[in-house]
């Protein structure tokens, strides 16, 4: 067995998995609170990547150094994705709180298609090269053939973001309100939680995380176009379901499992069917264990 190859795949999977986890968190948090598959979430991620690309180019032209560009572009991307997430919720989901379940779902699909085409029309259908903003770390030199600096930074960033998010949800006021709303919305309302604010915050946080994922993956892969959100969205959703939708550690775990599945399957089986593995995993999980790895199956109250 070629161990070096194995480790390469293992770490590659971990990198992929980190990105999926970042996006999956948005799905899981929104689903936990309003039981909606936010189809447009993948597009928020794509918009994050696009905004970062635009900002980075403008800033580079202004003559900033690379690190400043990276930080500033990321901040802009995060702010913008958050604003888009906030707006999308207000337009497409908030008016449908009382509607039958199918309605917000269709609205979400519509929103996703709309945003894709909005970027397609306002920008371009071509792939754009994304500047490689992530710096090369010198101390990484000896193992650079197994794992790149970019991969290390992606994994580390993800880990930090996860910890921050966990702290936020565990210990802050809004985090507690979010948990309360997720458990029982009408009860939370009764005890004085501002549910609208909680839902908005959830969208804002989820979208910001997606933007982080967008910037990281775009600078790692180096190419983006308007369609990257669709596939990434479905895969991240797969990750969320895999771990147990509604569960934050589940999203991380699901992201990793999916990342490794893809990495090993493409590495050892066939690279033609990269996306098929993810979809097949999604289908299999939903059929055999819809509650996911960490989720508990509950009985719907009648």
């Amino acid at each position: 067995m070629d161990w070096e190859y194995f480790f390469e795949l293992l770490l590659g999977g971990l990198t992929r998995g980190s990105i999926y986890a970042l996006i999956a968190l948005g799905y899981t948090m929104v689903y936990g609170i309003i039981e909606l598959i936010n189809f447009a979430h993948g597009e928020i991620y794509m918009i994050g990547a696009f905004t970062a690309l635009i900002a980075a180019n403008v800033l580079t032209m202004l003559g900033m150094n690379e690190l400043a560009v990276l930080v500033l572009a990321s901040v802009v991307a995060i702010l913008y994705s958050a604003a888009y997430g906030f707006t999308v919720e207000k337009i497409a989901y908030k008016p449908l709180r009382q509607a039958p379940r199918l309605s917000p779902l269709i609205s979400a699909i519509g929103m996703s298609i709309f945003l894709q085409n909005y970027v397609l029309l306002a920008q371009t259908s071509d792939f754009l090269p994304f500047p490689s903003l992530i710096p090369e770390l010198e101390f990484m030199e000896p193992i650079a053939h197994i794992i790149s600096s970019a991969e290390v930074i992606i994994i580390l960033t993800t880990a930090v973001v996860m910890i921050l998010l966990t702290l936020l949800i565990k210990y802050t006021r809004i985090g507690k309100a979010m948990r309360a709303t997720a458990q029982d919305r009408s009860m939370a309302m009764l005890v004085g939680v501002n549910v609208n604010r909680v839902i908005s915050t959830t969208f804002v946080i989820g979208s910001a995380l997606a933007a982080v994922g967008g910037v990281l993956i775009a600078s790692h892969i180096g190419m983006i176009n308007f369609y990257i959100g669709f596939i990434a969205g479905i895969k991240a959703f797969t990750a969320a379901v895999l771990g147990g939708i509604g569960s934050i550690p589940g999203a991380v775990l699901g992201g990793m499992v999916l990342g490794w599945t893809e990495s090993f399957a493409t590495g050892y089986v066939s690279s033609d069917y990269e996306d098929v593995f993810a979809f097949a995993l999604l289908v299999i999980i939903l059929i055999f264990r819809p509650a996911g790895i960490l989720g508990r199956s509950t009985t719907q109250k009648v």
């Binding site: 508990r296 509950t298 009985t299 009648v302």
Partner: protein, 262 residues
């Protein structure tokens, strides 16, 4: 008396919460029985467990439909329970809101009819006859329930009391031997409640259907029931005739704070 429903040792856990706790209960043929208890006692959960909507953690549910074999039915899907003759209504009304009143009742006939896709497309004499019979029968039930003036209305446009009666009509259309009513009088005014009282008696006397009702309106319960079961915290704490229940200290204690105005 011959029992038509025997429940033994029925237990239901939701995670750590025991909603039903070793419950035993029997309903006799031709009986109107009531299941009462404070909010959250587990009454609705009991209905859900015996109609196949929840799968009970343990226990037996056995039915003996008149003229048919005795049969253990837990684990069966809700539709199979209904097919075997046990129909129900829901505490929070669950009609088909954008279907007409008549169609709502026609849905109840589904499990007693057979025609399929081919029948629907070719609409042969067999299908036409069956369809006509469904319409006739459904209308007849609506008349009995005093709902015939609403036939073509959409269910969601009915007044509240009529919606509750429509749920009963729909259950009757499945030709049950036992109907389970979950708070049929909830939200009704005294006049409507009185009419419901009469209606339930007629269902028993004219159709020969037994009934088990969950109800908070004690006056209704006391006037209707042959037998009353009292639940608290998932346990059966008493059973007996209205007279016995009224004077049972355990029951009074369980209801402490809630008044029994009968």
């Amino acid at each position: 008396m011959e029992p038509i429903l025997e429940v033994k040792d029925l237990t239901m856990d939701f995670g750590g919460l025991r909603a039903l706790d070793h419950l035993d209960l029997e309903i006799d043929r031709g009986e109107i029985a009531a299941l009462i208890g404070p909010n959250g006692a587990g009454k609705t959960t009991f209905f859900n467990c015996i109609t196949g909507i929840y799968i009970p953690t343990r226990g037996d549910v056995v039915i003996s439909p008149p003229g048919k074999k005795r049969e253990r039915i837990n684990g069966l899907k809700p539709n199979h329970v209904t097919e075997r003759g046990m129909a129900r209504t829901f505490q929070n009304i669950r009609l088909f809101p954008s279907m007409t009143v008549l169609e709502n009742v026609m849905i109840g006939r589904h499990c007693r009819t057979r025609s399929g896709i081919a029948g629907a497309v070719f609409r042969g004499p067999g299908t036409r006859e069956e369809e006509q019979a469904v319409v006739d029968k459904s209308y007849e039930i609506l008349e009995k329930m005093g709902l015939s003036r609403f036939v073509n209305e959409l269910a969601r446009n009915l007044p509240y009391g009529a919606q509750r009666r429509l749920e009963i009509a729909r259950a009757m259309a499945t030709e049950p031997f036992l109907i389970l009513l979950d708070e049929p009088a909830a939200g009704m005014n005294p006049q409507e409640t009185y009419e419901l009282d009469q209606l339930i008696l007629r269902i028993r006397d004219e159709e020969g259907i037994s009934l088990l009702l969950i109800e908070h309106d004690m006056q209704l319960v006391m006037s209707l029931s042959d037998r009353i079961f009292v639940m608290d915290y998932g346990k059966k704490i008493a059973q007996g005739t209205p007279e016995e229940i009224k004077n049972n200290p355990v029951v009074i204690k369980a209801y402490l704070g809630e008044e029994i105005d009968a």
